[in-house]
Symmetry: C2
Subunit: 376 residues, 2 copies
């Protein structure tokens, strides 16, 4: 169950509408990350109010806790976490990859020790599909190997990246077979790999497009590479994907990265940055970022951003108050900061969608960039 | 600025209405504790929605952080923490008392080292009044010495309790002089001390009533004494206070303690129990308490309490989900639990007020007590 409608284009940038089992997603859209079945520190009602149309869940984490037995009993992740709008789940590939020395990758899948209790676990393309079918997420990601920027102390070579990309392709094929066998009614997305090598990215796209999946993601960026490499791959890859299918840039990034991603034809984004930075007192605003711990905010009676309409800013919680909460390790600090940062990201995408609708994305972007360096 | 209207009585129990500068408080009322200018883990909007009419702030903590300079600039605690309804602030007496070995009490006041940065500080009745005047709280508490249940390893003797109570009385007189000198437009409450000795409690009441303060609190309970001593003092003290003034039982307690307090003529309560227990996965319900970590809740799809109308219960967040959040140390666990527990306490007081209005408090109490032991 997935429909994608292209409403407008502006250069490579696209304004689209994605219809999923649990609702509609206007694109370009940012997806808040809800690893363990909760976007950290934010009530679901706050997410709804700030216009979140789709959130993420992490297959790997939810498999470990609460586990499949509980999730199956609840009929999936939606009813467990009380979120009625669409959910995308990653495949667990990125998380097992992040375990580093703790995991062993073979053709069959990945063996690793549970970081929760040390249990020996085995994750394969088939098991990832089985878990995501229990989760009943609207968008299911293929199980892939995330090609790292560094391999054994050197920059991953083209041969290494190629072999890794081809493993992801074979896993994609196995995912599709298992997804169909399970009669999963949702949408399976393939993931383009290929490291920092344009030709490998093109080869990955060609093979994935042959599988005729309902959507595609660009993976293996934001994995430790220099910014210019990330931008080179983002400039090269998304617009080569089928025009009539949604494109998702995984794990990216800063507000500026999102704007560049849209310019390169990306429809969907996710990143932990707004929530993680909120927990570290780092706030995003139209006029640049605020490090709340800075002594200059000690007496500052202004809200984070006077032009912002989030709960935190529109109710007048001041920078001084937020700094005070942060100094006292009060939970309300990350709560109010997470609401603001997520609202900032979602509002950024709303502005982008409006600009795309009237074909004035380039002009909007010029203003965005000059505002962002203006200073708070 | 304080008016108190007695709307109904039922035995010693009273249904009243307190009018303060920032609004009306229907009594009996429970006051959530907001030590550092935030009720831990709860958005102000959630407090408003659950019917909190007055919250607490802690003079001692707010004096240390953010400090008077910031609070003065904001024109008081209300504008700093963005709470428009009434606020009661304690005097700091209980907190310096809690420092134990770290403080030295003299006639003049209390010397102690700041638990935040080790600075040597001196708190006196006058300074407490000056701080609370800057805070602009609707109800200002006198600076007192909280008589402990144990002194130097033995149960505090009557002579020790008497001397401590008399110090609190002298401090009350100094508070009143300073409060008037500062032309503080709010209401100063006296605090009855006297330890576990009925005659001392009566002497304390007599002296405080002579000062003609607008309200009185019962302090020095819930300080480590056996439950039967606490109940004995609560049965002896509140109803001896002037009928036409509000009575506040400080730092008490469990739902059952609150019901008993009301029966003995108390109008106002505060306690950290609902929020602190929420952070320890201990939930209060009509049918008894829930320790959420218990394995029996692992698959439990029921809300905390099906009869509860709080955000957490009415949105169907299940015991299984809350246990999962708790196991994963997700902030949403204490957030949802704090909303539920505070709603439970505030709703308990709402039920009590309704029972008092129709003179059926005794019948309501019988049902309350049988419900509470029924089991979840």
């Amino acid at each position: 169950m997935l429909e994608f409608e292209l409403l407008a284009t502006d250069g490579r940038a696209r304004r689209g509408r994605l219809t999923l089992k649990h609702g509609i997603v206007e694109t370009p859209m940012f997806m808040p990350v809800g690893t363990y079945g909760t976007v950290k520190g934010v009530l679901p009602r706050s997410l709804e109010e700030m216009g979140a149309q789709i959130i993420l869940g992490n297959t790997f984490h939810l498999w470990l806790r609460p586990g499949l037995e509980v999730l199956r009993q609840f009929g999936g992740l939606h009813r467990f976490e009380r979120w009625t709008r669409p959910i995308l789940t990653d495949s667990g590939g990125f998380q097992v990859w992040s375990l580093g020395e703790m995991r062993r990758i073979s053709e069959e899948g990945v063996r690793f020790a549970s970081p929760v209790d040390g249990d020996k676990l085995f994750l394969t393309p088939e098991i990832s599909m089985q878990i995501q079918t229990v989760l009943d997420s609207d968008i299911v990601m293929q199980f892939d190997e995330c090609t790292p920027y560094h391999t054994k102390g050197h920059v991953t070579t083209e041969a290494e990246a190629c072999s890794s990309m081809q493993l992801s392709l074979r896993w994609a094929a196995r995912c599709k077979v298992e997804f169909d066998r399970l009669a999963n009614p949702n949408a399976l997305f393939g993931i383009v790999q290929g490291g920092m090598y344009e030709l490998l990215r093109e080869a990955s796209i060609a093979a994935l497009v042959d599988m005729d999946l309902p959507g595609y993601a660009v993976g293996g960026v934001s994995v430790g590479e220099p910014k210019e490499d990330m931008l080179r791959i983002v400039a090269h890859t998304p617009h080569r994907l089928p025009e009539d299918k949604p494109r998702y840039l995984m794990g990216v990034g800063t507000p500026e990265d999102l704007v560049e991603g849209v310019a390169q034809g990306v429809d969907l984004f996710d990143c932990v940055l707004p929530t993680r930075n909120a927990r570290n007192a780092h706030l995003f605003t139209r006029f640049g970022d605020i490090k709340l711990r800075n002594a200059r905010y000690r007496n500052d009676a202004l809200p984070i951003d006077e032009t912002c309409r989030c709960y935190t800013c529109s109710n007048g919680f001041s920078r001084a108050y937020l700094q005070h909460l942060e100094r006292c390790s009060e939970m309300l600090a990350p709560m109010l900061a997470s609401i603001h940062n997520l609202h900032y990201y979602l509002n950024l995408m709303r502005e982008i969608r409006e600009a795309l609708e009237c074909g004035r994305f380039a002009g909007w972007r010029t203003q965005f960039e000059s505002d962002r360096v203006r200073g708070v």
